[in-house]
């Protein structure tokens, strides 16, 4: 049997592009110096690290001294929120949304335990936060607003610019988890009035285990870790040099290709959505237009996501699901609940996230293989009555 792989889980992680691998490989081989070392092998690596930092900053319209390397999106989010709260030193108020990634949401829950108050803003049925609700939620001691740029499950884009302007007007820090957006859509921290921004390399065809935190000059923050003086002491520890180099290259490539890629992915995405809806009793989750170029999230009525995934996997199609059964936790996705899906519709959700390398044939293939899978599972379902 020919083994075909149609990878449609780019929201979970992405392949490292060949150009990126080739670019970082020397730093896993002959260019092994420690960038903090004084000698030539160290100094040469330092220079490469700083070039990569510059590339990463450039991609956001930021200065390179506003860019801190981290070990990924989770760490960036943790440093941003906890670091600002730690520096503040006294309890205050935080505004976020109910559909953030756990790396924001669960940090906020932790901060509540430490005495802070958190408003988790609701979203509409498309998953959008209303900027007016942000405005209304502001309190005397609100010190940070954290709203993601796009949701990882349903792909909905948030009105970041409006929220940024509002935060700026009030002198409140604005953090955005842009892990799903950087490299997919243009991001400029100045246009968006963002003070802190998280990104992660492995979501944009860079390596896993490296990310960055943009922090506008003047933002007051305390480091969470102590140790050496790397990353101007905000994130001490010997630098993940190959990761940093790979991230710089990946982001440079990704950002340069946005216009072409956006058009291409949106086309594939809309074809896939249309084809899946055609199966019948399939509904789109998230916003029909204001969504990530590569994100398709649908609910198949009467059946459960994990069993769809397993069946797709047997055909060589890699996707993911917000179903409880597939998440490692037992609860259905908080995002799908927040947009008002009932338990069983949430249960039947499947995300196909498109990216680098996907093409028309992949869409054809998925649209050929999915209907019989859905049909088979529905035929086993106690809730389904075929007409």
């Amino acid at each position: 049997m020919e083994s075909r792989l149609v990878y449609m889980d780019h929201g979970a992680t992405t392949p490292v592009r060949k150009e990126v691998f080739d670019y970082m490989a020397p730093f896993l081989q002959e260019r092994y110096g420690n960038p903090s070392s004084l000698h030539t092998p160290g100094r040469e690596v330092r220079q490469a690290v700083e070039e990569a930092r510059e590339k990463t900053a450039d991609a956001l319209g930021a200065n390179s001294d506003e860019l801190y390397i981290t070990a990924g999106g989770t760490e960036s989010n943790n440093i941003a929120l906890r670091g600002v709260a730690k520096k503040r030193g006294k309890p205050g108020h935080i505004i976020t949304s109910s559909i953030e990634h756990h790396a924001v949401l669960d940090v906020c829950k932790d901060l509540e335990k430490e005495g802070h108050r958190v408003t988790y803003l609701p979203v509409d049925r498309y998953g959008r936060v209303d900027p007016a609700a942000v405005q209304d939620a502001l309190e005397e001691d609100t010190f940070i607003i954290s709203i993601m740029a796009a949701n990882n499950e349903i792909g909905t884009l948030q009105p970041v610019r409006e929220i940024g302007a509002l935060a700026r007007g009030k002198g409140v820090y604005f953090h955005t988890d842009a892990v799903q957006v950087v490299g997919q859509l243009p991001v400029d921290v100045n246009e968006l009035n963002v003070d802190l921004l998280s990104l992660s390399a492995h979501k944009l065809n860079g390596p896993k285990g490296v990310g960055a935190l943009y922090m506008r000059k003047g933002v007051k923050i305390d480091p969470l870790y102590r140790g050496g003086s790397q990353e101007r002491k905000l994130r001490p520890g010997t630098e993940n040099v190959p990761g940093i180099i790979g991230q710089g290259k990946a982001i440079e490539l990704a950002v340069s290709e946005i216009p072409e890629k956006k058009k291409r992915l949106e086309h594939l995405r809309d074809r896939l959505i249309k084809g899946l809806i055609n199966i019948g009793e399939v509904s789109l989750n998230g916003h029909p237009e204001e969504r990530l170029p590569g994100n398709v999230n649908v609910s198949f009525k009467y059946i459960e996501g994990e069993s769809v995934l397993l069946s797709l996997d047997m055909e060589g199609i890699a996707a993911s699901s917000g179903s409880a059964c597939s998440s490692g936790s037992l609860e259905p996705s908080h995002v799908l609940s927040a947009i008002g899906l009932d338990h069983s519709t949430a249960h039947g959700s499947v995300r196909f996230s498109l990216g680098y390398g996907n093409n028309e044939e992949d869409i054809d293939y998925v649209l050929e293989k999915t209907p019989p899978i859905v049909e088979r599972l529905r035929s086993m379902s106690p809730t389904y009555r075929s007409r």
Binding site: E304, G305, L310, C325, S344, M380, P382, T383
Partner: protein, 124 residues
């Protein structure tokens, strides 16, 4: 994640469907993850002559349902009543820990079906 046996029962589930003239029907669901199962029994001389299931759930849920039906088909009601969810999991060659508590409920559906059967016997 899943054993080969689980994947086999997921891919080629045994005894799937409804029984039009079932002597008993059992149903159960997991509050935790939302899986639901339905079992149909045909009983003759206190023996399970035929059995069918319908399941809304993940791979483990479907495989457990299928496995259970194989395990109890031909058994007496009393013998079948002794089959536990753990027995089903064991017979499948084990299940991932988290699935033990949410998707492995077929024996509960069977208990429910047996109760249905007994209550119908009494009311006859």
């Amino acid at each position: 994640m899943y054993s080969e046996k689980v994947m086999d029962h997921f891919t080629n589930p045994r005894n799937v469907g409804e029984l039009a003239n079932a002597d008993a029907v059992g149903e159960t669901g997991s509050f935790k993850c939302g899986d639901t199962m339905k079992l149909y029994l045909k009983v003759k001389d206190e023996r399970i002559e035929d059995i069918r299931f319908q399941t809304f759930g993940c791979g483990a849920a479907i495989a457990s349902s299928s496995m259970l039906t194989e395990m109890v088909k031909g058994k007496t009601i009393d013998e079948a009543a002794r089959v536990t969810n753990q027995d089903v999991a064991d017979e499948l060659g084990g299940l991932p820990p988290m699935k033990l508590h949410c998707s492995n409920l077929a024996a509960d559906a069977l208990q429910d079906a047996i109760a249905d059967y007994k209550s119908k016997q009494r009311s006859v």
